[in-house]
Every structure is written in structure tokens, then in C-alpha cells.
């Protein structure tokens, strides 16, 4: 197992995702002899996990069962331990395409936060790219580095514990793309520019507040960035449901006298007639705002 390469069987030391049910998942570090408690009972790693195929059904001690999945950045995003507010897959997908990430890309990111985006970036730039991620909070930086190691992507990433606004990314002229998710991105724009290849590249800043966007766009324009464009992208989930719609009873219709009474009675809907349709309903509440994504192109300098 690695976050950048699939394997078929669960091995000692892997991180597996236990799927308990709809939107209920947990990551598990697979260790010989270890046990994991779930609401369906205990999973014994040595017998229930190690050597099993990813995607198989595992029966827990109380007789309930779960599926064990191969980790992916997307599963990690919904199961990771939150140390900060994180980026979710809808924004991550948009960022990945608009930053033009692909295998071999060199990317700078700040802050690392809980590593949700970092894992997605690493997946996309492997096996030949590199991620330089900067986090000003020491424990968070250490924890992220530890996770990258556990997820076997540490060869693709350098974690730096410094303040990007003051000290930049620690590299110059190497990045194809830069991503900023910090409180004052406008203070890091010049560092972003310095970190990027002279041939140019793409930059993205994620900010929840429009005032931040305003200042960042100004800074980007001042630094000579082009094609500055701000978007917002939201996910709309459609829950598939069987819906029953009752039919109204208007009583017997005297105008349709042509048919015999018996036939008319037969045709009239019975008291509790209804029609069942398959449709979708929106969830009652959805995330209505995550942040604004500002993209720009750095021209050749």
C-alpha cells in the first residue's frame, strides 16, 4: 500500500480504510496482533486484515461486517484526523486541474494544515514530481511529515517548519505551481513568485473571505501575474429516493357519464391511491461556502 500506488492485498504496516456504512469510515494502521474496535465489534488485524484482498468484507466479532478499502487521497480527506480546517475534494479537484498538476510537477504549498490537499497533490505529481510544503506550526509540520512517511510518500515531499510570509518556501525558481491557504496570502505572493520557475507557472490562493481575495488579487496584479480569476465551486449532492405521491380524490365525475356506472366506479382511484416515483432530493443542509479560489498565471520573467 502507498497513497500513490495500489496494491491488491493488505499488509502489515499499511493504512487501510474501514468502511462501516454510508459516510462512516475510519482509517486503521494495520499491525500484526493489533485490534480495532468498531460498533460492529472487534477487527483482529492478524486474522481479519493481513493477507486479505483490499475491498473484501470482514466480519467483526459481534457478527456485523465492514469493508476494508485501499486508501486514496479522497478517502483520507474524509477520514483524516483534523488538526485544522481542511480542504475538501470538490475544491481539491478544481485546484488540481486549474494548477495544471500532473506527474512530474513541482509544487509549493502553504500551509500544510492537516495534509488533506497535500496527499491529493502527491498522488497527482508522483512518481517524478515533488511537493515543498511549508507549515508555521511546529507540531503540525511534524505530524504531517510523520503521516507522509506512514503513507509511503515521504520521498516525494519536503516539509518545512517556517513562516511562508516571512521566509518563503525555502526554494527558488523550481515550482510549476504554488498553492496558498494562509490568513494573509497577499504577504506571500512575492515569495510564491520567487519559488516559481522563470518560465512561468500557475498559482492558487484559497481564502474564505472576499476581503482577503481583494487584497490577494491586488498583490498578484502588482507582482505581474496574469489571467487572474476568482471562482467558487460547490458540491450539490442528489440523494436518490423513492417518493410516494398520493393522488387526490375529486369524487365521482358526473360529466363522464358515457361509461357504465360500474366501469366508472372501477376506474375511479381508490381512497388511498398514490404513485411512487424514483427521484432525488437535496440534503436539508449543505456546505454553502468553503472559500474563494483565486487562480493566476505567472508569466516568464
Amino acid at each position: 500500500m502507498s497513497f500513490v500506488e495500489y496494491s491488491d492485498f493488505i499488509q502489515d504496516g499499511d493504512v487501510a480504510i474501514v468502511y462501516l456504512g454510508h459516510d462512516s469510515m475510519m482509517p486503521v494502521k494495520v499491525q500484526k496482533g493489533a485490534q480495532t474496535q468498531t460498533r460492529y465489534g472487534v477487527i483482529r488485524h492478524s486474522t481479519d486484515l493481513i493477507g486479505q484482498r483490499y475491498g473484501s468484507k470482514v466480519t467483526c466479532s459481534k457478527g456485523g461486517w465492514v469493508h476494508v478499502l485501499h486508501p486514496t487521497p479522497e478517502l483520507w480527506t474524509v477520514t483524516l484526523p483534523h488538526r485544522t480546517q481542511i480542504l475538501y475534494t470538490t475544491d481539491i479537484a478544481t485546484i488540481t486541474m486549474m494548477l495544471e498538476l500532473k506527474p512530474g510537477s513541482v509544487v509549493c504549498e502553504s500551509g500544510t494544515g492537516s495534509g488533506s490537499l497535500s496527499h491529493a497533490i502527491l498522488r497527482t505529481i508522483a512518481p517524478t514530481g515533488h511537493l515543498h510544503t511549508v507549515e508555521f506550526h511546529q507540531q503540525r509540520a511534524e505530524k504531517a511529515a510523520e503521516e507522509f512517511k506512514e503513507h509511503r510518500v515521504d520521498h516525494l515531499v519536503t516539509v518545512r517548519n517556517q513562516d511562508v510570509c516571512k521566509d518563503g518556501f525555502g526554494v527558488t525558481g523550481v515550482a510549476d505551481a504554488v498553492f496558498l491557504d494562509i490568513p494573509s496570502p497577499w504577504e506571500a505572493v512575492r515569495h510564491a513568485k520567487a519559488a516559481m520557475k522563470k518560465q512561468g507557472g500557475r498559482v492558487c490562493s484559497f481564502s474564505p473571505c472576499i476581503e482577503q481575495v481583494q487584497r490577494t488579487c491586488e498583490a498578484l496584479a502588482d507582482q505581474g501575474f496574469e489571467e487572474i480569476s476568482t471562482v467558487e465551486v460547490l458540491l450539490r449532492v442528489h440523494d436518490v429516493r423513492n417518493v410516494s405521491l398520493p393522488l387526490p380524490d375529486f369524487g365521482p365525475d358526473p360529466s363522464s357519464q358515457t361509461e357504465s356506472d360500474a366501469a366508472a366506479a372501477e376506474k375511479a382511484p381508490p381512497n388511498h391511491a398514490s404513485v411512487t416515483i424514483k427521484t432525488t432530493t437535496p440534503p436539508r443542509e449543505i456546505p454553502g461556502h468553503t472559500g474563494y479560489l483565486t487562480f493566476a498565471t505567472k508569466p516568464r520573467t
Binding site: 491488491d8 479522497e74 475534494t89 478544481t94 481583494q214 465551486v233 436518490v240
Partner: protein, 469 residues
């Protein structure tokens, strides 16, 4: 800094390159060909002069359709105006504020004035310009720039640019797949280097190209195609290096049933195989592509048997026929090899990802192709319409073997960000299509164990039975 020259080689435009032309938000994909007239935004020009310039260079189109690299920053400063009004109370739309007539402007153009100079003339001859607010002036200049500036920027193609281009220019060709929806699909399907991905698309090759870009030449992509042959003109526009095409395989969906049943015959025949066998292969070929060029040969044969007049001519014809047959045989053999290679990749039923985006009903496509995925692998199905995906969802729930099913679409809004004038753009896309995503899991033993056992197990599965047995 010393190796700059070398560094830039890959950033230079070369003859034969596939590039994207850009003006404002308008894109067009073209190939650089000598003396080829290109029409873009109602203007024609030649790309010959672009060769050896760097990508992302902006060119001015001068008389004779010649491209001339635009000097950096020769535009911005010239139209700085100091005077501005406070509001629009004194501005009346009487059509008299612009003193230049259409003809005047045409004359200016003929005199060879550049876009920038024409705009300055327009401003100088506008009686209301100085009364407009600063913001309105900006807007005016922007609008005129769009109309009179004849520049074009030449870009290196990328998934982002091509997805935006197709969505803007020819959404019908890509089933109205919006770029952010494509972005969701690539991420949800966990497309990455080194995996084995199945793609079924009728989006001109955009989706296939996007998948190939994300795989960077590592792993394998199998295009499952309907009809006579794979359609992927859009893949060319990506301008991939040659080795990217080594990872691309193709398999006609008309053989999927045979492959699943284990009756698909792709075994190698001796090159010196007798004509009987080759005609069998030919028959097969005919079935594959009924509308293809097969028509010609049988008629030709008939003609010859009937005539038989001139011996010499007959001999020549015979020779030509032989050569043609030989050529055909080679082609057929190549095709068979390709089919066998793709079949071999599929047979293990251990693909890592499945991406469907087509004008076909997604339900049978999904049900047919899902069988080739290994357990614990993601799949995504795009449809322009929601209802067929509801059907897919229902069917998958009944059948089992998948979890985390989710039917979604994305809402995308662009913003104008300007000092004191920030707001969402007045127009936004009404919808970008729907995506059904999910993850495969091992089927219940009761349901599928029997059928899986019956098939020849993949090498990996053998190992499993070994350890279990």
C-alpha cells in the same frame, strides 16, 4: 542560469506542434503547419512566424496575416487618462458622443494603425469619455480593446485549457461536460501514474486525453470504444510526447461479451497461415466495422473473373492484388495484436479505475465495464442528464459489489474582483452535468464466488488461492 538556452528548448514553439490560440477568454486548438492559413476570431493569419518563439508569447497580427511578437508592456501606459466624472447624470445616450464614423475607423485601420492607437483615437473623439466615472472609463477601454486589438497568444495545450476551450466553443461535442466536472471526475477516479484505467467516452477524446495527462505516460489506459473505431481527435490537441501513446490501448465494446464469456479468440496465427484463416479474420473484421472500406474487394474479384481478356493486365492486377492483400494482412495482423494486447490487460479483471462520459445510456455501459475493475477501486460515470444516473444508482444498489455511491453535480461561479467593485459575474453556467461516483468491493461469495471460480484466475489470484489452500 548558464544552461538557460538548453532549458528553454522545451518551451519553444516548433513546427508541427499542437498549440492553443488565445484571445481574452477565447481559445482555439491548432497545429503549426507551414503556410497554413488559420482563421481565429474572424481574422486569418499564418503561424509560420511563431516557430522558435517561446510559448505564451503574444503576437500582433499585421497586414498579410503575419504574426509579429508584441513587445512587452507597450500597451498599458499609453491610455492613462486623468479626467473623470463622478457619476452618469450628464451622460445621454443619443448616439452622438462618438465623432468618428464607421468609415473613419476603417480608414484608420487601412492606414495600419494598431489596435491601441485606434482605441486612443476613439477616446480622443468621444465627447463623453472624460465625463464618465473612472470605472466606466475602464470598462469602455476594455470593451474597445476586445473589439480592435488584433493580438493572439500562443499557448502550450493542457487539460485545463482544452477543457475550457471545448466547453466554450463546442460543448455539444463533449456532452456539455464542464471543466470543473471533468476535474471532479479525474480526482474522484483517483487517476494517477502507474495505474490501469478504463475510459469510455464520446467527448471527442477530451476525457481520454485528460486521463492520459494525469498518468504522465506511466501505466495503461484502455479506451473502450463503441462502433467501428476509437474517436479521439481531441487527444492530438494535447500534443503528448510520442511515448504517451505506448500506454494507450483500445478495445471495441462489441467484443466485451465475448471477452467476459472467454470466447474471444485473439490467439496468434502463423504468419504463413492459409487463406482460409485470413478470410475468417477478415469476416470478423467486417463484423467489427460494417461501414468501413470492405466494400471494394469482393466486387473487384468478380470483375476479374468475368473479364480475363488481357493476360498482361491480368498479371499486373494480380500483382497489385497480392500486394494489397499482403498490406491488408499486415494491417490485420497489427490490429489483431493490438486487440490481443488490450484483451490481455482486461482479462485479469484487475483494472484500477473506470471513467465513463458518453452520449450513450450510462447504465449498460457501467454494468458491462464495472466487471473489469479490481475490488476497492473507484469509478465515475458522467451524464449530461440526471435520470439515467438514478437508474445506474438503483441497479448498482440491487446488484451489490459497490459502495459509497454518490450522485452529484457542481455549481461554479466566477467573480469580478476589482477595488470596490467585487461581485459575482452577471452570467454563470446553468449546469455542468452530473456525476455518479463509487467504489467497488468484493462481491458476496454467495452471489459471485461460483462464477469467478469458473474463470481462469489472474496470476495474482492464484497466489491468494495458494495461501488459502
Amino acid at each position: 542560469m548558464a544552461d538557460n538556452g538548453d532549458d528553454d528548448a522545451q518551451y519553444r514553439i516548433k513546427g508541427g506542434d499542437y498549440v492553443v490560440l488565445k484571445r481574452g477568454d477565447i481559445f482555439k486548438a491548432v497545429q503549426i503547419q507551414p503556410k497554413k492559413k488559420v482563421i481565429f476570431e474572424k481574422q486569418w493569419f499564418f503561424l509560420d512566424n511563431a516557430v522558435d518563439h517561446l510559448y505564451s508569447t503574444t503576437f500582433e497580427i499585421v497586414s498579410g496575416g503575419v504574426l509579429q511578437p508584441k513587445k512587452l508592456k507597450d500597451a498599458e501606459s499609453s491610455t492613462d487618462t486623468k479626467e473623470a466624472g463622478t457619476d452618469n447624470r450628464n451622460i445621454v445616450d443619443d448616439g452622438k458622443s462618438q465623432k468618428l464614423t464607421r468609415d473613419d475607423i476603417e480608414t484608420l485601420k487601412e492606414q495600419g494603425l494598431k489596435g491601441q492607437e485606434i482605441i486612443q483615437q476613439l477616446i480622443d473623439n468621444s465627447s463623453t469619455f472624460k465625463d464618465k466615472t473612472e470605472y466606466a472609463q475602464d470598462k469602455y477601454i476594455k470593451k474597445k480593446k476586445k473589439k480592435y486589438e488584433n493580438t493572439v497568444t500562443i499557448l502550450k495545450p493542457s487539460c485545463r485549457i482544452l477543457a475550457m476551450m471545448y466547453h466554450g466553443r463546442e460543448p455539444g461535442k463533449i456532452c456539455h461536460l464542464r471543466y470543473d466536472t471533468l476535474a471532479q471526475m479525474l480526482t474522484l477516479a483517483n487517476i494517477h501514474a502507474g495505474s490501469k484505467v478504463l475510459v469510455f467516452e464520446t467527448c471527442a477524446g477530451l476525457v481520454l486525453g485528460a486521463v492520459m495527462e494525469r498518468m504522465g505516460g506511466y501505466g495503461s489506459v484502455i479506451q473502450m470504444y463503441p462502433g467501428g473505431g476509437p474517436v479521439r481527435a481531441g487527444v492530438e490537441s494535447f500534443g503528448f510526447p510520442a511515448h504517451f501513446h505506448d500506454m494507450l490501448h483500445e478495445f471495441p465494446i462489441c467484443h466485451v461479451n465475448a471477452l467476459l464469456a472467454g470466447t474471444l479468440d485473439t490467439t496468434a496465427k502463423e504468419p504463413s497461415a492459409d487463406s482460409k484463416q485470413s478470410t475468417v479474420a477478415e469476416e470478423k473484421e467486417k463484423q467489427n466495422q460494417p461501414e468501413a472500406e470492405q466494400q471494394g474487394s469482393p466486387e473487384e474479384q468478380n470483375m476479374e473473373t468475368n473479364s480475363g481478356a488481357d493476360d498482361l493486365e491480368k498479371e499486373q492486377k494480380e500483382k497489385r492484388k497480392e500486394a494489397k492483400a499482403q498490406e491488408k494482412k499486415v494491417k490485420l495482423e497489427e490490429k489483431r495484436k493490438k486487440l490481443a494486447a488490450a484483451a490481455a490487460l482486461l482479462e485479469g479483471r484487475n483494472a484500477d479505475g473506470l471513467v465513463i462520459a458518453s452520449r450513450f445510456h450510462p447504465c449498460p455501459v457501467l454494468m458491462g465495464l464495472l466487471k473489469f475493475l479490481a475490488p476497492s477501486r473507484p469509478f465515475v460515470v458522467y451524464s449530461q442528464y440526471k435520470e439515467p444516473l438514478i437508474e445506474c444508482y438503483t441497479k448498482l444498489k440491487e446488484q451489490g459489489g459497490t459502495i459509497s455511491l454518490r450522485l452529484t453535480d457542481t455549481w461554479l461561479r466566477h467573480y469580478q474582483v476589482l477595488p470596490n467593485r467585487t461581485h459575482p459575474l452577471l452570467l454563470m453556467s446553468g449546469g455542468g452535468g452530473y456525476v455518479l461516483s463509487g467504489t467497488t468491493v468484493a462481491m458476496d461469495r454467495s452471489k459471485s464466488a461460483g462464477s469467478q471460480r469458473a474463470e481462469e484466475p489472474a496470476p495474482k489470484r492464484l497466489k491468494l488461492t495458494d495461501t488459502e489452500g
